[in-house]
Symmetry: C2
Subunit: 144 residues, 2 copies
């Protein structure tokens, strides 16, 4: 049970932008910082833009900027939106013969609800609280 790479990268992009310089951040900077395939990053950025959490601008001075206050976006909302699948097991895919009367799915749904309730206690701003003035700032300085 792990978050998808898509969600993982989405969270990191949002964290990076939370600590970014005022000007837009280039895709190439994030590719280099996180050592991820550009195509994979672009898919993630497109999703973040569609959710209106990230603003993308084109041109020589274009790039990515956070479009939302980091204090207003919870980690629960981020994970729920980026994960896509909202179920821990796919009873249909396996055509499970135990499905009639099976309680597992509803128990897992309750577990997931408890997980998201906990995740909604934290905002994007909280995730980078320990990073003020340290490595992210240094990373950005090297691109300034």
């Amino acid at each position: 049970m792990q978050l998808t790479h898509f969600t993982d990268l989405g969270i990191r992009v949002l964290m990076y932008l939370t600590h970014s310089r005022p000007e837009p951040i280039k895709i190439s900077e994030i590719v280099e910082q996180f050592q991820v395939p550009r195509n994979h990053l672009i898919k993630v950025v497109n999703k973040l833009a569609k959710l209106e959490w990230v603003l993308t601008t084109r041109g020589r001075n274009g790039g990515l900027q956070l479009a939302i206050a980091p204090t207003s976006l919870t980690l629960g909302t981020i994970i729920r939106q980026l994960e896509g699948c909202s179920q821990l097991i796919d009873c249909e895919k396996a055509k499970c013969k135990l499905s009639v009367g099976c309680q597992v799915k509803s128990f897992l749904d309750n577990g997931l609800k408890a997980f998201y309730e906990e995740m909604n206690r934290y905002t994007l701003a909280d995730t980078v609280k320990g990073q003020t003035g340290n490595n992210i700032i240094k990373m950005h300085m090297s691109y300034a």
Copy 2:
């Protein structure tokens, strides 16, 4: 974020055995019921035997039997043991540059704790409560 196929099948094997006839259940019966590769099932069964939740006996009348009372095994314990990995993200694998001071991992750990607390409210016996006298019994009858 989904349970692994390994965990998914492990839960189903335990549920099947919870409703089984008194005599040992053949591996071939479970392969046919769940339409899973025999090798995959054997790996799962070996793990369940190692955990001392399932008793395996060899020979013509051999097979699988539950070795533990279904009321004494929680769904949380089952999932935690079968999942293997206890973290929702692997910060080391990606060599994440945000790791210093990053709060995400500890927030996710708290979320996972909330998930398992909820899962520990349910036992293996609870998972099949809706199934007494219905499809599982019918499945077994076809093999009696």
